[in-house]
Symmetry: C2
Subunit: 284 residues, 2 copies
């Protein structure tokens, strides 16, 4: 079992314009946190890609490279890379560079995206939501396997053995499938023999157990070696001296964020009563 932390680097926003302020301080804080995580022995730290004023990280590999220079052993991952709306060639190049800079500590968590801003921003159609991910993951794995891949798809110009450099130090560079818990993503990860990171943002963890079985079953059917499979859970966490102190400190800002995000997604506001029942908003 490994233990880590991740963040999207939340930003404070100007109440008048809604634009983020003091984002450089948010980055300085998170670098200090990653340095501490490395020192106290956490296994991994992740930064998640977003394209909205709420969060400062849209280029995870760039921010992780600064963390690489300030740490010695902690693994550094995106949590997640929105692969559907990115170019797998660039993603591989950036994380291979991070891997070389960090002495082989880079990982990619590839996801379809929970927020959807990146689709119009980079000119993709949400109707292609799943096809985009499947195709780009296929390309990413092809590039990871060899410097000069041959590949053809609908959503990215073909590769005809053009070289992709630099090459990662780790062979292979770890690529996880990050999923909000849809059976489709879980089966895909199992069939491809890729490690699976499930985001449990709300809902009881026990509800996700059948997905773990589905993942292992998909791997078995595809003939994947069992030890190639691994499951990670990305969830919210907060520590304090007592449960009550943790809840009292955590609930108000958590409710503010989840209610703000929930307004875009049609969730009901998060009340203390719902929170105390251990039920967050709907699973995304």
């Amino acid at each position: 079992m490994q233990f880590g932390a991740y963040t999207f680097v939340e930003t404070r926003r100007d109440p008048l314009t809604g634009e983020p302020v003091d984002v450089d301080k948010s980055f300085a804080d998170v670098l200090e946190q990653i340095e501490l995580a490395d020192r106290v022995g956490l296994d991994v730290f992740g930064l998640g890609e977003h394209h909205r004023p709420d969060y400062a990280v849209s280029a995870p590999a760039v921010a992780l490279a600064a963390a690489a220079a300030r740490t010695r052993r902690i693994r550094l991952t995106s949590a997640v890379t929105v692969l559907s709306s990115d170019d797998p060639v660039r993603v591989y190049q950036q994380f291979a560079t991070l891997d070389l800079l960090s002495g082989g500590r880079a990982e990619i968590m590839a996801g379809r995206g929970s927020f959807i801003e990146s689709f119009p921003l980079f000119g993709y159609n949400l109707e292609d939501y799943d096809e985009l991910f499947a195709e780009k993951l296929d390309l990413l794995l092809a590039i990871r396997a060899r410097p000069k891949a041959v590949w053809k798809g609908r959503h990215r110009p073909p590769l005809n053995s053009q070289g992709v450099y630099p090459r990662a130090l780790q062979e292979p560079l770890p690529v996880w499938i990050a999923s909000g818990g849809t059976p489709q993503s879980v089966v895909r990860a199992g069939m491809l023999g890729l490690p699976l990171a499930i985001a449990i943002i709300g809902g009881e963890p026990a509800r996700f157990a059948p997905l773990a079985e589905l993942y292992r079953e998909a791997g078995r059917r595809a003939g994947v070696a069992p030890d190639a499979l691994a499951i990670g859970i990305n969830g919210h966490g907060f520590l304090a001296d007592t449960t009550e102190a943790a809840i009292d400190a955590f609930f108000p800002p958590y409710a503010e964020v989840m209610s703000r995000v929930g307004r875009e997604r049609g969730w009901p506001p998060l009340t203390r009563a719902i929170f105390d029942q251990g039920r967050g908003p709907a699973v995304i």
Copy 2:
């Protein structure tokens, strides 16, 4: 006058396969060099984007972010970013992140590309060589000016006020035009009031003086304030105790590289006789 250094991070290659080896050591070396440059007072350090096994940097902002974490005051730039074959939204996001991580020390040198591997790699047509650059520069400057730009072009999906985050700390994030010395690029930089970096890879520096005049004249005609204009020179340099010692140490590896690159470009081999006359290969 400011003084700096740049590198593409040359790689050693396996003599049998031609693939790069020990690239992590090349990165470790260059980080040490940038740290030293910072300590001894150089003003700027640049890393150049390439997509070939000879050079390790294809993602300059990622490598520069590691350098940012190890330095205090030196400015960090791409030298160059091949803007023609990249997405200005991603380029802005990566360098804005670098700017935030470095306390406002990021710069972009945008160029059309000297090597041409990136065009087929990212699905662009070399026939659009100049149009691609003009269009993408226009978009980069629009994004730099405001978070929610409205923009339409031929080579990238339109922007309809989607937000581009995070925002750089510097306002504006410095964008230089990097040119191999074509009058077209020089005039473009002058008209837009952008600083100009001229690469003098071969040939006598005096031959480039008319370009400086052309740049200033283009700025004057466009009504640009003279102090908005600045000229940088990117060239090869090598220091030793005496001129003779410098030439003896520098010439053999320099000739090897220039002859290798020259074979792809139809240059004659670089001989010591030509070198001693102060004439390198043709201007690119």
